[in-house]
Point group: C2
Chain length 398, copies 2
């Protein structure tokens, strides 16, 4: 059947994620893949989850297997709010409400559904997370990329963008250990973004999946913790600190958005998997997630530092790169004019994979001289071998 | 904060589900609620799921807790396709593909995302499932209700509707044990719907969550089993035959829709909960789901027949109702002019709840002289007491 006259306009322009295509190539075990973006499997608390599953299915099977509330499993909502108050300084008493969602991507999808008409504008960091850029594209939103400086979005360009485009409703940001750049937005820039959001009456979607994975430097407050007016929708996730396969994340937002976000959740998938929500609640209640996160931090600290030391050793001087204080990504920038898309094809011939920078741009068709490296799942040996091969390739090309 | 200038047009008109509001009232344990629509909790295979969870977390914990494929867990896809070939006669070899989704509602959401521009038309049965009607509303689709006869949609009105409204892209139908009416669409009407879909080049979304719950009469082939041209998207679910809390359903569709549905799934929530998919696959592989469904059928047969016998005994003659051959709903129609919304308020004062018919209409604001009764979770004693009270109320009012 020819569906061409039936596909919606908003889906016509959205392509399968370039990253997913690279993943298929990188799935070849002969390839050393720095293209991924997943947590280290050894950080999943499988044994603890087994104990929790047994307890749930012995004592509360009906609740775990029956329909649940669209807003989420109440004990998990309360545990998350308590944790976010303690760890992130988010006001969880007066102004804000919470919905448990099926992963951060869904938090982005629901926020888009509630706010965006077709043609409305979304400001994003340039580069930014391809998954959420694609979500905005499925709403036929217009993306406005604001270049990243070392301390986050360029505020002057952000203000100019907001001033000149009255269709903008949303600023999408990953302020801490950004995907793909690894950059952490400074306190001053966070404050500036919040002021601009208020001035131009737009919502900030603060996506913070990596925030708890800091392994050096000083913690910077979340934008949501400084939000007294309700302009920030905060998106937290269990994917990088517990398990991505269980699809658990949470939106924390001004109560004024609660009804519409709840209806959007109802109409989208009724509610998040109850069993998984009970597993996460059981883990927060009876186990020590902070110790578990501390172990992840030490693991990623080692892998990041080791990868950086290999890059210092093997990469030519013309390649510059970020030195993240947490998270799972390093961003490499080559001299202007280099096309990292073409470079990737050669790297794959040499059995090393990374993601070229254009995948993270508002215009994916323009070549990029940057690329993303991930270190979270790799052994020292593979890191050294892969970075050495990449270094040789870069030395030949630059 | 005042969000009124920021909410999207498509969400402005969508209200919290009336059913969910009634559920809140009906949650009072003093109320006998026929308002629900959930499977009997005693049908959830909790012990078997516990065994499967232990096996998965001992032997394949990393796969269960890590990111998965947007299309779904491959063994579950294969098991479902095999089952759909055997049970429903769906061609799973050549023409069709499958995606595992987070419940039927998400199947409806993704189909809408891929097909519908704002203002596009969706034909639905009048009455129909409120949840999916709300999904279409969140895409600013225009709903065209086609009245239900005893054998399904009125084909003459369906054709007139398709002929006069070129914006229509989708026919939404629950042909077997429909929610809310309990009606099963006849083979002749199914064939007629398929012909009309081909003639006017629209897609049929065949939602079949109750199809396996037949307890009397002859099985009618699914529309998808007669589809040789790719016009039917089939939506099957684990919610009524396994567990609703695990949020598992599946879309089976012509391969021509695969890329866009996969991208829509990626942009919506990346993938369905992997652990739950492995639990369902483990159940289909190592346990006897057909025996389990047979037990559910016998349970619902008893409860349906018992409720009907009580209605025969206690309801005034002016009340007519469907006699379903499966599923979990009975639809009651009162003389024209009766407002079952007002009636419900009086019923709740007498501690009995049901869902008034207007909730299932394309125009929820027009009074309805019908209402929906559910029998799936109720003891004989509660069914008899509740129906007696309702019968007394009806006798007073009619």
């Amino acid at each position: 059947m020819d569906f061409s006259n039936l596909i919606s306009d908003k889906m016509l322009g959205v392509k399968a994620s370039a990253i997913r295509e690279i993943f298929k190539v990188a799935a070849d075990p002969a390839i050393i893949s720095f293209a991924g973006g997943v947590p280290a499997p050894e950080t999943y608390p499988a044994q603890e989850i087994k104990e929790i599953c047994n307890r749930i299915l012995e004592t509360e099977p009906t609740q775990a297997l029956a329909y649940g509330l669209s807003e989420g499993y109440i004990p998990l909502k309360e545990l998350v709010l308590e944790r976010m108050r303690d760890k992130e300084g988010i006001d969880t008493d007066q102004q804000n409400d919470i919905i448990i969602v099926s992963g951060s991507q869904q938090g982005c999808d629901l926020t888009s559904k509630v706010l965006l008409n077709e043609g409305d504008g979304v400001v994003c960091e340039e580069p930014s997370f391809i998954g959420c850029l694609n979500t905005f594209r499925t709403y036929n939103a217009k993306l406005y990329g604001v270049p990243m400086n070392e301390d986050g979005m360029d505020l002057a360009i952000l203000e100019e963008t907001l001033k000149n485009n009255k269709n903008i409703k949303l600023i999408y940001t990953i302020p801490t250990f950004q995907n793909p750049s690894g950059i952490t937005t400074s306190l001053a820039v966070r404050k500036g973004m919040l002021e601009l959001a208020k001035k131009y009456n737009v919502v900030i979607l603060e996506d913070n999946p990596y925030g708890e994975l800091r392994f050096s430097g000083e913690k910077v407050p979340t934008i949501k913790s400084m939000d007294t007016t309700g302009h920030v929708v905060y998106l937290g996730s269990f994917s990088k600190v517990f398990s991505p396969g269980l699809r658990l994340a949470y939106l924390i937002f001004d109560k004024g958005l609660c009804e519409k976000l709840t209806v959007a959740k109802q109409a989208t998938d009724v509610h998040t998997n109850v069993f998984s929500q009970m597993i996460a609640a059981g883990y927060l209640q009876s186990y020590d997630i902070d110790s578990s996160i501390e172990r992840s931090r030490l693991l990623y600290k080692h892998r990041c530092n080791f990868m950086l030391s290999c890059m210092d050793k093997y990469f030519p001087k013309a390649a510059t790169y970020t030195r993240p204080e947490g998270g799972i990504f390093i961003w490499v920038t080559l001299p202007e004019g280099t096309d990292t898309g073409a470079l990737m094809k050669e790297a794959i011939c040499r059995k090393v994979a990374f993601v070229p920078g254009n995948a993270f741009m508002t215009d994916v068709d323009s070549p990029s001289n940057s690329f993303r490296l991930n270190y979270s799942t790799m052994s020292d040996e593979k890191i050294e071998t892969g970075i050495r091969i990449l270094g040789e390739l870069l030395a030949e090309k630059l």
